[in-house]
């Protein structure tokens, strides 16, 4: 616990015994002890660190050595982080950490992370047993939804006619108003369609967590915690939505993934 001897690795003078690398332990996540790490996965960093399991009683941390003098955040680093966690999530429970957590040593991983929080991590892993995260992303087809909005709003239709063939400068106010109506309508549709999808997928998820839109034409962006064994059922239900929304919403299902949206930091 409160040992104060260890100092941030980056500011510690390089140890003479180490070649020229200043190594830290990059932590990906927590899994049950005894979990197998696939032989072909590589850690992040350059050169890629070897992923290993540091066990303490019933739990273990997924870590790899990383050179702390080198910045992290190349595309390969992001992909390695999520790739490892999602590969683990496909097999069993895993508590994913956010990108970028590095501890000074493997001893610190045990003494400061695993030992003091053993029971919390263990019970979280138990609760996640059998579940994985899936993310549903939907993007509106711009033309279709614009046509819908114009059909539904006489005001929008009137504004569209008012700006037709007129220069932009002369119709700025009308354009802004029209744009406002479209923005508000997209937001309303997004809320409605997201709810409709969640209703339609009932029985295929235990929890849902709404994500903020990442694009102005986003129709749906939601994370689901679902039984791993029900992946087929979830995919089938998604297909039905895909059919219903053909030409209107482009739907994607991502997963199984580690439950990023369903783990809560303490404190």
């Amino acid at each position: 616990m409160g040992r104060s001897t260890k100092v941030s690795g980056a500011s510690v003078p390089k140890q003479a015994t180490r070649q020229r690398q200043n190594l830290g332990s990059y932590v990906y996540g927590i899994v049950p002890a005894g979990t197998k790490v696939p032989a072909d996965v590589q850690g992040l960093g350059d050169p890629a660190g070897k992923v290993k399991l540091i066990e303490h009683e019933d739990i273990a941390a997924l870590v790899s050595d990383v050179n702390v003098d080198q910045p992290l955040g190349r595309p390969g680093d992001f992909l390695a982080h999520e790739g490892l966690l999602d590969a683990m999530a496909d097999k069993g429970p895993v508590l994913p950490f956010r990108f970028g957590g590095v501890l000074a040593s493997t001893e610190a991983v045990v003494e400061e992370l695993l030992a003091p929080h053993h029971d919390d991590f263990k019970s979280a892993l138990d609760q996640l047993q059998g579940y994985a995260e899936f993310v549903v992303k939907g993007r509106y087809a711009e033309q279709t939804v614009l046509a819908e909005i114009l059909a539904e709003s006489p005001e929008a239709q009137g504004l569209r006619e008012a700006i037709r063939g007129k220069p932009e400068d002369a119709t700025r106010n009308e354009r802004i108003r029209l744009g406002e109506i479209i923005t508000a309508s997209v937001e309303a549709k997004r809320a409605m369609d997201t709810q409709m999808l969640l209703d339609g997928l009932t029985g295929h998820y235990m929890q849902a967590s709404l994500r903020d839109p990442t694009h102005e034409w986003d129709a749906v962006h939601v994370a689901l915690l679902s039984e791993r064994d029900d992946q087929k059922g979830l995919e089938k239900a998604m297909k039905e939505f895909g059919e219903r929304w053909t030409g209107r919403v482009d739907l994607r299902l991502l997963g199984p993934m580690a439950p990023y949206d369903f783990v809560l930091a303490q404190g």
Binding site: S4, R252, M257, D261
Partner: protein, 143 residues
């Protein structure tokens, strides 16, 4: 029917920069400050610029193409899709899920993802001396 948005890196960044357990909440003493290359991601905020763009899109919307008029367009959109389209969508969904899996579990880095990364306008370097700071928001426009 619109194509699929970019899969892979954008989705990954959406997920791992802003979600998951925060290690700082558990460990304080031996946290190592490491330089993290962050991506200044754009939040979706409607502005006058957005409004003008939307208005122009509505202005250009070719309703004449299907001069059956609006009601037709709508019923087509909401109604029963044609056989072929359905198939396309089904495959789309399945492929997307498959792609992601393969992408995330398989390759460590793929050239397409690297390329799309390079298109990102702003990559900034943040020197963090304490625990890695994360005011990074992963919300971003993907196109």
């Amino acid at each position: 029917m619109g194509g699929h948005g970019p899969t892979g890196l954008a989705d990954v960044i959406d997920t791992i920069l802003d979600r998951g357990l925060v290690i700082d909440a558990y460990v304080r003493v031996s946290l190592v400050g490491i330089e993290i290359l962050t991506i200044d991601t754009r939040v979706v905020i409607a502005s006058v610029d957005t409004y003008l763009r939307f208005a122009e899109a509505a202005n250009r919307l070719d309703m004449a193409k299907s001069e059956k008029g609006l009601p037709e367009v709508i019923s087509e959109a909401k109604g029963v899709p044609s056989q072929d389209k359905t198939k396309e969508v089904i495959q789309g969904v399945v492929e997307a899920a498959g792609d992601t899996l393969q992408e995330l579990t398989g390759k460590k880095s793929d050239p397409a993802a690297e390329a799309s990364m390079e298109e990102e306008p702003e990559v900034s370097v943040e020197r963090t001396s304490g625990p890695p700071r994360r005011k990074i928001r992963p919300k971003r426009e993907e196109e």
